[in-house]
Amino acid sequence: MAGLLVVQGLTKRFGGLVAVNALDLVVAEHAIHSVIGPNGAGKTTLFNCVTGFYQPEEGRILFRGEPIEGLRPDRICRLGITRTYQNIRLFANMTARQNVLLGQHVHLRSTWVGAIVASRFTRQEELQAHREAERLLAFVGLRGKGGVLARNLPYGDQRRLEVARALATRPVFLLLDEPTAGMNPRETHDMMDFIRRLRDDLGITIGLIEHQMRVVMTISDRVTVLDYGTKISEGTPREVQGDPRVIEAYLGSRRASGGDR
């Protein structure tokens, strides 16, 4: 299996702390690949390394066979990897529509000269971008809300808008960082359906960080379990669920932290 994304021996340290430790990971094309693990296991750090926000100390990251480690985030976005954030990071004071338009930036060919003289090409491209924005807003269920400031959207809509913005970059590989965080069961269910649609209808490979086990076990094709930055288990949801090391990591970490909750 070649894999859309191949991570080899990835290590990321923060001072003395090893956040990700010699990690190997292969994400197959068109998969929904979940990364789970206790808090501080290095899941988000892994995402940050893949999207270019952190420079890993060691290891390689290959996307479609090309090394991408060390590239700037905007370059990586152009290659087709986009993400959403655990704590939503929309452009809060821009409208929903502008957020989605912004996501299309990488595909716009207009130059600053075109913008100043408002060339026919620029105007048509802009019109096209607006149409595409409306389409994407409708796709995520935000039809008619394009004019609302992102900050004023309800929480669930903000999550959807963040996905719409990510989709606007036309990603090949979409990283979702806890997309159901803070959602009620109904919203969570909708989000699961939605993630499946992204894969099935749009053919996007999904990388997923998720804490709700029900979500992970239902929609994932493959699950990677991290603990203290190290991969401790990997396989289908069923395989991972039965792995004693996983149970140990989850229960063990609770014991270690003094049995929280």
Partner: protein
Amino acid sequence: MRSSSPTLRAALVAAYVVGTGALVAAVPRSLPAFLLFMASMLLVYRLEVPPRFRAAAVFAILVVIMPVVGTSNTFYLEVATQVGIFVALALGLNIVVGLAGLLDLGYVAFYAVGAYAWAIFGSPQALKIWPAATAIFPLPGWWFFPFLLVAVALAALTGVLLGLPVLRVRGDYLAIVTLGFGEVIRVLANNLDKPVNITNGPIGITPVGRPPLFFAPVVARLGVSTEPAFLYPLYFYFLVMVIVLVVILVTQRFKDSHIGRAWEAIREDEAAAVAMGIPLVPMKLLAFAAGASFAGAMGALFGAKQLFINPESFTFMESIGVLAMVILGGMGSIPGAILGASAVTILNLQVLKQLSLTLNAWKSAGVSILGFNLADLPTQLEPAKYERMVFGVILIAMMIFRQQGILPSARRRMEIEEARAAAAEQVVTGGSS
């Protein structure tokens, strides 16, 4: 007002414009009359009138009434020209600070670059650099026009050169570096008279060349005086208006384009913007270059208008003044920057001076208010000297009572209105859980 018809509103505006215009023409020395007349611009902007009428009204105010009024009182024309210059500066800084969110405290440096670019080559100063080139320098006046473009290009280039090393730092640090840069340019201007005399140091450069009155024959045929002292103020007024028009157009186009969106996204959340594929450095450099280029053009014009420039015109306080205009009007807002620049310039040039004059007149006349004889006021109390203080008080009041500025951008306005609506809703529903 909202319920009245557009035609009625249009008629109202027309009446106001004509009325105040006539008033200013009738009493050319009256400051209130002039302020009322200037307010007509605001009225035209704020009232919902047909766009065509709006354009016609602006044309009438700026192209017909203002110059006519200006011929009877050239000081007004000078004020209007200064307002225009500062409008362009405020719009330029508005791109950098308001749209891209890059706090620039040395903006006036670009103004200086533009001014010196033309002043050096359009005056005998160039001969001090190349003494042999008497056949070429000083460049004839018509070179002023190509040099407008040269000034734009030089200022934009300076903006990029400043930007390249500086853009790695963010927020407060960027502000400090730009502050330093502004001072560096001023100090360079002050000291580049040795070993090669480039800027003539603190003495400054004079006389700076002026664009020729190529239209004088036409004007003469129309029966208007061709006296340069009469024509030049009008000439510069119109030149400034043309540049301001271009600047407004360019700013608006940028703002509505993918570039403007990218700037706003960078301002909102830099990391998220990069994650969405916005290349940070080119976008920030573009903001710096665009903002700087407006200042460059106005700098060249400023030198020609004043006939004289020296480093004193490009101090840190000038940068702060332009920044205050942007903040006062509403960051990111084009009408805001225009209003901010107009209000501050008129306040500085006219209102405070007028207050000083009036106060002095009252003092010498021995007028007393509430039993206090104004003649007993200390002589130091002169409003014109308290320009910066008045300014500071206004800014403090703005930040407390109206943070978004006088004319905030549509987006900012929406933001605040929606927040208010949400708060009201919560009161009505008794507050959600």
